[in-house]
Subunit: 227 residues, 2 copies
DNA sequence: ATTTTTTATACTGTATACAAAATGCTTGCA
DNA sequence: TGCAAGCATTTTGTATACAGTATAAAAAAT
């Protein structure tokens, strides 16, 4: 794969210490490639070609593709292999509706079960995000923004909840990444985040849920135009 | 696989007309085996052995296992292969919390977008379920019950919602299947269902959400003892 | 008797080879 | 020139073979 080395004896070894199997590495690699747009929606995946590109044989690559198919990032057409899944505007809207509901649920639970340290960590993430906003660093802002939303879900301490949230999140990432909102809307999003963090610190479940509701509904409005 | 035939020339062919690939068939087959308890939680899966049992080689079987790993039904331990995932009581509770939230969301949406025919179909399913209840046919009752819950989600016409619901549903099926409640509780569940269908027919989103909320919360109480 | 080391075995991880299916192109014919 | 049929090529689907690793058992040493 990417981080391979050729040793003196000519054997290929993987540089990482992680015991993760090859198909596991390929999964994360391909997932990133899809999210970042290296593999375009609707694009057909040729196994031998992609395999040579990654320096692996077809077997682990195919196993990785099956995994990603279950995640919903690629589609398996019988006898025609894998295709990067393409989402319609309705698909994205539907996903965001579910994501919104999941985050609201997570927020409510988090108010009850989150540790003070966890909330404090989120506050500092928020501060970092505001800094990126003021510096107009869109990419950095976007990344920290993601971390905050994921962080809220994590605070709920509910593994299946975090899992399905992450599943849908990974699908819309590709879309959101493109959505570059105007200055006013961006400012609005930051303000909403402030309200979210405040409600969380106050452990006010209903207010938090309401804040998340409007924030994520607005989020869809912000993205809608580009889908 | 199950429906294989040996032809005169000795070649194995699959009887089904479906164009589904072999690993696809294995996925559904294994999923059923796990849900129905043929493969017990914590049990290690030996690829060669299971492959011979199913009449397939290791390659498509492994691909199927990767798929199921992404679904969360099996766990992949590096260098030790696949193990049927075991869920703790907290895991199950967490899943049911999410399922409850998802079904409430689906119910609210369904009230707005479901077709009259769709609601009527659900009513007739409910009637069938009541019949099974009165006849004390537990297994039949259980199956129709599942169909109703899945049906409510389907009415929302939101594919990702249905998908994640189905994902979690498949995991708790194994558990719910065991939960045999007493007569009083069973009667309560049926009564709750009547309220759910009524609220749906009235397209009363808030009432429906409330009914689903209590029904599914009670569902957890009913199952809790056996986990 | 217990612990450690060695060795054998069994299973997983990966690659390669083969078979079947689909697609595209060429050639023949109207 | 347009169309169709057949052939060639490409690609997926499946099986098998080989290499690496973990586990368990047996033997040796303390």
């Amino acid at each position: 794969m990417a981080s391979e080395m050729v040793e003196a004896n000519g054997r290929r070894t993987v540089a990482t210490i992680s015991r993760q199997s090859l198909h596991g590495e390929i999964v994360t690699r391909l997932r990133d490639m899809i999210i970042e747009g290296d593999l375009q929606p609707g694009e057909r995946i040729y196994e031998t070609q992609l395999g040579e590109e990654l320096g692996v044989s077809r077997t682990p690559l195919r196993e990785a593709l099956k995994f990603l198919a279950s995640e919903g990032l690629v589609e398996l057409v019988p006898s025609r292999g894998a295709v990067v899944k393409r989402f319609s505007a309705k698909d994205v809207e539907d996903m965001l509706i579910v994501l919104r509901s999941l985050e609201m649920l997570a927020g409510r639970i988090a108010c009850a079960v989150a540790s003070d340290e966890g909330i404090a960590r989120l506050r500092s993430l928020h501060d970092a995000m505001v800094k990126h906003y003021k510096a107009a660093e869109r990419l950095e802002y976007y990344k920290v923004n993601q971390q905050i939303h994921t962080g809220i879900v994590a605070l709920a301490n509910n593994a299946p909840l975090a899992e399905v949230h992450g599943l849908l999140q990974s699908r819309v990432k590709r879309i959101r990444f493109i959505g570059h909102e105007g200055a006013e809307r961006w400012a609005g999003a930051v303000a909403e985040h402030e309200g979210i963090i405040a409600a969380l610190e106050a452990r006010d479940a209903e207010t938090l849920a309401r804040e998340l509701d409007t924030h994520l509904a607005n989020g869809w409005e912000r993205v809608k135009s580009v889908v």
